[in-house]
Symmetry: C2
Subunit: 341 residues, 2 copies
């Protein structure tokens, strides 16, 4: 195993990209060894007697803790709510566990806790369990938060997290501009100021997704495009499958400010993190309805059909560029921007 | 709020003692504000349609990562399994979320993951969801692990975590010697070597507890005595109640080596952490049966009746000392030994 994984942990092992997948596959999935963990979906789907539950965990180590449009608390709630929602589940309960550095400001903590309370209230999820650990000054960087969520899922929607029902010709939709969160963190970290305000897109998607699922039973797959961005989610989806993905660069919504920042820093918006964006694969006949519905909601109004499921190049994501060329979109090996969430 | 909580976070806020309770009550319970979180039991009891679930979370920041008799991985599994088990639930599923410092040794991580895999297999709980974050060197101390668990609970056992059915005269049992885990960490940290091997008591209690619950329906309360030790659990139990607790010092099993270490460092074994000890309150008529059953199991063989629920001094824990005196056992204000779990 050591040959495949290297001798020490690198930042890339937490990137959500190739190294992350190797670590997860060769270490966690290998040893924990069970059929529920193996598919590596956003939420595990577990059966407890008569109910099907979605169950998901995330630790948040974002730096800085406060950034344009959000803070670690809001992020910690939205991240877990979204992981449940894109699995087709209704988010119900959440735990919140804090690792705090000695000397951390109580008023900052209060602001963050308030933000979690407000966000969870709006999402309709209850924070019912918690834990607090404090470590000596210098043993963690300010504050880390773990949230773990439980949702209930209709058995007829279990395929949504695996994409088992995906067919050639299905349309791929994203509910708005990509890369906003990554760029908001980058600008906060670099203390950059711009004329255009670059805010995180951090938002709970569960109400919007519930509306979509009420409207149509033709949703074939959903996932939120967080660490590693849109590109990583689509590469994960296509990997080892009998279909390919064709993306249309013209269709992918990116804010001008995000484009600009990415150019300056040499980043690609397709790989920049989002915290309020879902990739939705839907049967072609229902795509129009889904777009119309998304457009009515503030967090869906910039939605766009960005590509489709194709028979060609199975396992691969191919981008039709604005100038008419084609290029393969691959998963990043390492880390574009550490501590993004 | 600031007056009650101070301006910054101190180690005591993570101790499990008085400062922890103030932080939890005045910040988390206040803002997250719901009837499930409010009782602050080890597991939240939530209803998902037709099923009652126990749900619990813990972050583990123990230092060092490896210590006599265990490591952070074993601890992270047992801690969450035990929180579910003492609530009267059957542990089913667990998430595991890792925050890793860049440069951490892959073989150490593999050892820890193996240890989690082995412990969870023995306990019969499946690790079905996970997350990995990597932070720059110096931004966390080696490795932190969060585990969050789900169990299923028979509605007739929900009273076990709150102690709602406790009656005067009920007996208090502990399943073995107290303070072992705290002393094992202390000795590992101080690089002390003793003739007597001081190992952690870290163990999953769910099978033992399942046997107890099968044997009798007279269990009135259970909780595992982790951070803050036996004293803290009993103080929490008695607080604001119409009953008192009388402890008999002679009955409390403590290893000679643990006593010795505590004397050297000026600690009290009653406040030393355990990771495989449950406090069990049982109706007097069933106490003998429970003791007999516990004695048959390696992790229960040193069990002992350590006290009882009394009508006197409601809200207080009083210890009858070996020399015949009485003293009030109070919750510690601050932190006896940081990063114990």
């Amino acid at each position: 195993m050591r040959n495949q994984l290297g001798k020490t942990i690198s930042l890339g092992h937490g990137s959500g990209g190739k190294l992350s997948h190797e670590l997860t596959g060769n270490l966690f999935v290998r040893y924990f060894n069970n059929e529920i963990l193996a598919p590596q979906t956003d939420s595990a789907i577990v059966k407890v007697n008569r109910e099907n539950l979605a169950f998901t965990t995330d630790s948040f180590v974002v730096d800085p803790l406060f950034f344009p449009g959000g803070d670690i608390g809001k992020l910690a709630v939205c991240g877990t709510v979204n992981d449940l929602a894109v699995s087709g589940a209704i988010p119900l309960f959440m735990s919140a566990s804090f690792i705090i550095e000695e000397g951390f400001g109580m008023d900052q903590l209060e602001t963050i806790v308030k933000s979690m309370a407000e966000e969870s209230r709006m999402a309709g999820i209850k924070i019912v369990a918690g834990d607090t650990k404090v470590v000596d000054h210098g043993q963690c960087d300010k504050l880390f938060i773990n949230t773990t969520g439980i949702g209930v899922i209709d058995p007829e929607r279990i395929h949504i997290s695996t994409g088992a029902n995906i067919r050639y010709g299905d349309k791929i939709i994203v509910n708005g501009t990509v890369g906003d969160h990554g760029v908001a963190i980058l600008s906060a970290r670099e203390s950059l100021s711009f004329e255009s305000k670059l805010e995180t897109d951090c938002a709970c998607l569960n109400h919007l997704i519930a509306d979509v699922l009420k409207k149509t039973d033709k949703i074939r797959f959903m996932r939120d495009a967080t660490r590693g961005g849109l590109a990583t989610v689509l590469c994960e989806l296509a990997a080892d499958k009998s279909f390919g993905i064709e993306l249309d660069e013209v269709g992918i919504p990116v804010k001008e400010g995000v484009k600009g920042m990415c150019e300056i820093f040499g980043f690609d918006p397709l790989y920049m993190a989002n915290e309020g964006k879902a990739v939705i694969v839907v049967a072609v006949e229902a795509a129009g309805d889904v777009v119309s519905l998304l457009r009515k909601d503030p967090i869906g109004k910039n939605c766009s059909v960005i590509g489709e499921i194709v028979e060609d190049h199975p396992g691969q994501v191919v981008l039709k560029t604005e100038i008419g060329g084609k290029r393969i979109v691959d998963m990043l090996a390492g880390e574009q921007l550490p501590r993004i969430c």
